[in-house]
């Protein structure tokens, strides 16, 4: 029978079929960070259980780290980082700690280090684990009990999700890219449109994207409710891996959905019709084109969102002024993102009423950007140039919005208070964020 890519990866990893219950699935790579792991390690310790495969596990520090030189972190954050360090030492788990030169946001370093590979299964106690699907890995977020389960057994009882294929066709207009594709897709599917599914992103517009653009798309699968995104590996993928010292393997063949494979659902999107996207509400599905106006609220939830966001229906999006601009997060903090933003700001100045920052996704991205002189472009324009971390994507660290502050952000979540209690987040692409920083209101380059 014809199979989807999901079927193929799944079948290769079933340790024991579950029948009516969940299958027992083998996990090839377990990524760990400081926030969702302490209780898992503690349970192992209490039960006297070891980590089964430390060699398939890797930890990094990202959510709590301070990204400025002058910003001390609070004692609880420090305790969480210290706890990770102690746990990794005690259980033999490799750790890329702050200052190692290899640290960074967990979903940025996986692909960067060549750990994210086609056909493997990856989990992490973090919902944006979906990112890694961009290289053809089945990757999904788990909670702390499941983190413990994987540490102890290297497996996870899972039911196979349903399959949804989103096919992107057409040619994008200039200035429209991966972030706009995925925001438009979430606007179309809704924030629960992908619940219970793995989304396979396919079609010529996906094939034309770099691996970094694909990472941006798969990153936000979870914002449509899908636990994982998947893109079939191709020559672009293999070249990316080769550059990272990972030679092509035999078992990467046949990692695509069969031509006659049947998906539970199919959606087609013409990227030629997509304009740069800006969210106006409090979830990523509340999104419009930059040339639109803030829409009339369709229901109570939208009304509540507009109140929270301090917006009036009918206001042109381009007229909305911002206080802050954040370029960073596992969605858009890779080198291509920084290059795209730098191309917009080169030789210009950030608007005097805006505070703008760039936070590279990893120590390696930071080093690369500095080697290319991108940091100078940002600093000369008036951006803050910071150290790698999650930073203001979720503000568990000193980088936060003040109540009422409005931010154009390249991150993935505009939930109430996500970037700081009372803060107002609008999700955009790196080039829109850069242009907005210069103009002081939403703008295109």
């Amino acid at each position: 029978m014809a199979k989807t890519l999901l079927d193929k990866i799944w079948e290769r990893h079933v340790v024991r079929p579950g029948g009516d219950g969940p299958d027992l699935l083998y996990i090839d790579l377990h990524l760990v960070h400081e926030v969702t792991s302490p209780q898992a390690f503690e349970s192992l310790r209490l039960a006297g259980r070891p980590v089964r495969r430390p060699d398939l596990t890797i930890a990094t520090m990202d959510h709590n780290v301070a990204t400025g030189d002058d910003t001390p972190i609070d004692p609880l954050s420090q305790q969480q980082l210290d706890t990770l360090r102690d746990n990794c030492a005690a259980f033999g788990v490799p750790l890329y700690a702050t200052g190692s030169g290899r640290e960074g946001i967990v979903h940025v370093i996986g692909p960067e280090l060549g750990l994210t590979q086609p056909g493997i299964t990856i989990v992490c106690g973090d919902s944006h684990t979906s990112t890694h699907g961009a290289l053809g890995a089945l990757a999904f977020g788990i909670g702390t009990s499941e983190v413990e389960h994987v540490l102890a057994t290297q497996t996870l009882p899972q039911r196979k999700p349903k399959s949804l294929r989103v096919t992107f066709v057409g040619e994008p207009a200039p200035g429209v890219g991966a972030k706009d594709y995925v925001l438009a897709a979430i606007g179309r599917l809704g924030v629960d449109g992908g619940v219970g599914h793995v989304i396979e992103f396919a079609g010529p517009a996906i094939e034309a994207l770099s691996v970094e653009g694909r990472l941006t798309i798969c990153n936000m699968s979870i914002e449509a409710g899908a636990r994982a995104g998947l893109i079939a590996p191709d020559e672009t993928t293999f070249a990316y891996l080769r550059e990272r010292g990972v030679p092509r393997r035999d078992d990467w063949r046949d990692l695509s959905s069969d031509a006659d494979a049947v998906f539970d659902r199919e959606v087609e999107i013409d990227v030629g019709a997509i304009r740069p996207q800006v969210t106006w509400g409090t979830n990523p599905g509340m999104v419009a084109s930059i040339d639109d106006v803030v829409p009339e609220p369709a229901d109570e939830a939208a009304e509540r969102a507009l109140t929270y966001m301090g917006l009036q229906a009918g206001t042109p999006i381009r007229e909305i002024a911002v206080d802050r601009v954040f370029i960073g997060s596992c969605t858009n903090s890779r080198i291509e993102d920084l290059r795209a933003a730098a191309a917009v700001v080169r030789g210009q100045r950030v608007h005097p009423s805006v505070r703008a920052m760039v936070v590279p996704g990893s120590a390696q991205v930071k080093a690369q950007a500095e080697a290319e002189g991108l940091d100078r472009i940002f600093v000369d324009a008036g951006f803050e140039w910071r150290r790698a971390g999650c930073s203001m994507c979720l503000g568990m660290n000193p980088d936060v919005l003040q109540p009422g502050e409005r931010c154009a952000s390249t991150s993935n979540r505009n939930f109430e208070g996500r970037q700081g209690a009372g803060g107002r987040t609008h999700l955009v692409s790196p080039s829109i964020a850069a242009a907005t920083a210069l103009a002081g209101h939403f703008a295109t380059a």
């Binding site: 340790v15 209780q39 060699d55 609880l76 493997i120």
Partner: protein, 188 residues
């Protein structure tokens, strides 16, 4: 995990769609390294509003809107609901990871068609107590789906890790047949 027994209780009505885990338990409480004590921070920001639903209702059952628990993977969300005193959340749909996390800790997520959830909300608003019977797989009289394996695990309060460790031979056999495609240790 504690064994799940039949619950009969008043229900709290939170009729909003897409309630995300950032609202259920905001990030500043994710810095704790313990598993307990999260209940007092449940819906921390929303609870500052005196009109917020939880401020004038109580019960062990939460009736919620569609896509409850979307967003982040933080298990702190079900921890805080359970610690606050909820044993069951009934909604038309759930965020996948939230649902999975809840099943791990014995907080029962019950999925029912939206019309039935609306009916239960009306009955709860009228002060009726609802019964959730996991053995019979019914909530307020409506049947719900949950596979036998998971139901049994919840009813007995079994730990998934202990269950899987019984399969150690099968896991070892799988590992022998499938050499690891990568190693994190060799990265140095």
């Amino acid at each position: 995990m504690k064994a799940f027994t039949t619950v009969t209780s008043r229900a709290v009505v939170l009729d909003r769609p897409d309630v995300d885990t950032d609202q259920i338990i905001p990030k500043q409480f994710l810095k704790r390294i313990e598993r307990s004590g999260f209940g007092e921070f449940l819906f921390f920001d929303w609870r500052k509003d005196p009109d917020f639903e939880l401020n004038h209702q109580s019960g062990r059952i939460l009736l919620a809107g569609r896509n409850f628990g979307c967003g982040s993977s933080r298990e702190h969300a079900p921890w805080s609901l359970q610690d606050y005193g909820f044993d069951v959340v009934i909604a038309p749909s759930f965020g996948d990871i939230f649902r999975q996390n809840s099943l791990q800790i014995g907080l029962l997520p019950v999925q029912l068609p939206a019309e039935q959830v609306q009916q239960l909300m009306e009955r709860a608003r009228a002060g009726e107590e609802l019964t959730v019977d996991l053995e019979a797989r019914t909530a307020g009289g409506f049947p719900f789906e949950l596979d036998d394996h998971t139901r049994q695990r919840l009813l007995e309060g079994l730990d998934d890790v202990a269950l899987t460790l019984r399969e150690a031979d099968a896991i070892a056999a799988f590992e022998a047949a499938h050499p690891a495609p990568l190693s994190t240790v060799s990265l140095g």
